[in-house]
């Protein structure tokens, strides 16, 4: 059992999400930064399907009721166990009753905490993830929340620390054009690939609202609602794109000018308000 003492702005339980329910309007959800989730689980010897805590802008403090093994990945955050510093990307022990305290990340947005055995909250439609758009899953954690921990698997990780590259200050996200790039002017399509955009504070697990040059339409009729994907750059009539993340709506009626490649989505999940980003067209993988 884990007892939450304090949380920062947002702390939710996340796993790999609930894909396959889009036809009844359920977003895939899951960790915004899948790469960090996977690494955290592997560092403590969990199955890839185990649930972790996704901690936005640090601030989490918790106590373990019994001895546990944990690991922190994602946005690097100064952390202590009973006052002793613990490293990122490396398994560490928490004795029964010990207090883990996370500071605020210097870079990035989302830190992941894996506990050996996995966070054990009820599943909804096959996943333990919290979907902030629909409210499916366990409510965001608060002071006093008590969480069960599952039974550990047999394997132990053979690693002390995983080398993880630093987050870039001005990330460049690779984009594949379409499916509705033909709804925009040639100038808009070119602009997307060469002009910087700023991350606005109006961003969350649903998506990142970007501020930058207006992306002008070539067509002004209405687009019938159609299926949306993670990484999609959806552009409403005001011309300012929204980059969809884990809790994105399943369908939408604004045209998608391009889709960020899957390998760059973990970078997108770590973007902070005020950060400047660029897009670069990737060679099409058709």
């Amino acid at each position: 059992m884990i007892q939450i003492v304090r949380t920062g702005p947002l702390c939710t339980v996340q796993d790999r999400g609930r894909a396959g329910y889009a036809a009844i309007g359920v977003s895939p959800s899951g960790a915004a930064d899948r790469r960090s989730l996977g690494l955290a689980n592997r560092l403590v010897g969990n199955a890839e399907t185990a649930a972790c805590l996704e901690i936005t802008l640090g601030g989490l403090a918790l106590r373990a009721r019994r001895a546990m093994t944990m690991a922190l990945t994602g946005a690097p955050v100064p952390s202590t166990v009973d006052g002793r510093a613990v490293a990122m990307n490396s398994p560490f022990g928490l004795a029964a009753g010990a207090l883990l305290v996370l500071g605020v990340p210097r870079a990035g947005l989302r830190t992941y905490l894996a506990v050996r055995g996995g966070i054990d909250v009820p599943e909804v439609l096959g996943s333990r993830s919290t979907d902030v758009l629909s409210g499916l899953g366990t409510a965001p954690l608060r002071s006093g929340t008590v969480l069960s921990v599952g039974r550990a698997g047999a394997g132990w990780p053979n690693v002390d620390v995983a080398p993880v590259p630093e987050l870039p200050a001005e990330p460049v996200l690779r984009v594949l054009p379409g499916p509705r790039d033909d709804w925009f002017t040639g100038g808009a399509v070119r602009t997307l690939g060469c002009t910087p955009f700023d991350v606005t504070p109006d961003s969350n697990r649903v998506g990142i609202r970007l501020h930058g040059p207006v992306l002008e339409r070539a067509r002004h009729d209405e687009l019938p609602s159609e299926g949306m994907v993670r990484g999609a750059l959806q552009v409403p009539p005001d011309g300012r794109p929204m980059l969809f993340l884990a809790d994105h709506p399943v369908t939408g009626g604004y045209p998608v000018i391009g889709v960020v490649v899957a390998d760059d989505l973990p970078l997108a999940a770590q973007l902070r308000p005020g950060q400047r980003i660029r897009f670069r067209y990737a060679p099409g993988g058709r």
């Binding site: 894909a19 396959g20 889009a22 036809a23 009844i24 309007g25 359920v26 977003s27 895939p28 909804v124 758009l133 629909s134 409210g135 499916l136 594949l176 379409g178 499916p179 109006d202 649903v206 209405e222 019938p224 609602s225 159609e226 299926g227 949306m228 994907v229 990484g231 999609a232 409403p236 009539p237 005001d238 709506p249 399943v250 369908t251 939408g252 009626g253 604004y254 998608v256 889709v259 960020v260 490649v261 899957a262 099409g284 993988g285 058709r286």
Partner: protein, 206 residues
């Protein structure tokens, strides 16, 4: 009939069809014989988005399999009728009245006069796209979507009406509000409306 199939990132393909009936038929065929590597199916107004695992198939292979599917005519069920009470006092009633050239009362009357059919679901759990509305009430989405639309909001955009099941961002024009719950995890099934169901809105005052 399929007009075009486009790639969407590296994990999905968007199939465009000529009409809503084409969507219904292809969706049924894909559910009956799912192509290898398919991970997700999102039917919508004129399209079906097919998610795939690039380790198991490719865009080209999937597109080829989809084109070769010959959907047989699928019978549509006459679904059950669901009545939804509405207070027609929404924030976009002014804009819709202006855009259609009708008065507030006339917009509300015409909206409640139709029998709608659930064409497909999407956008959010419990969000059903209702077709069969009055063509005179056909209006575009808001130019700037709202950051927050309340739960129970009854709204229109293009040829569809819908009820927002929970508070969320949204770009539809809000005509009014209902107390009916579109999505309830304590209920079985959790969604009030499913494709094929028929819907009537009933105006209530206060």
């Amino acid at each position: 009939m399929i007009t075009v199939i486009k790639p969407v990132g590296e994990h999905a393909a968007l199939v465009e069809l000529t009409g809503a009936h084409g969507v219904y038929e292809l969706h049924a065929a894909l559910r009956q014989r799912p192509p290898a590597g398919m991970t997700e199916l999102v039917p919508a107004a004129r399209t079906i988005l097919i998610g795939y695992d690039p380790a198991r198939t490719s865009f080209a292979r999937l597109a080829s399999v989809v084109r070769e599917l010959r959907p047989s005519g699928v019978a549509t069920n006459a679904g059950r009728l669901v009545e939804i009470p509405v207070r027609y006092d929404g924030p976009d009633l002014d804009d819709v009245a202006r855009c259609t050239g009708l008065g507030h009362d006339e917009v509300a009357r015409r909206h409640a006069a139709c029998e709608y059919v659930v064409a497909f679901c999407g956008f959010a759990p419990g969000f059903a796209y209702l077709g069969g509305g009055d063509p005179a009430l056909r209006v575009p989405r808001r130019a700037v979507p709202r950051t927050r639309v309340p739960a129970g909001a009854v709204a229109v955009a293009d040829e569809f009406s819908a009820v927002y099941p929970a508070e969320s961002p949204g770009g539809w024009q809000v005509l009014g509000r209902t107390e009916s719950r579109m999505w309830d995890l304590t209920r079985d099934p959790p969604a009030l409306l499913a494709p094929g169901d028929r819907v009537r809105f009933a105006a209530v005052s206060r």
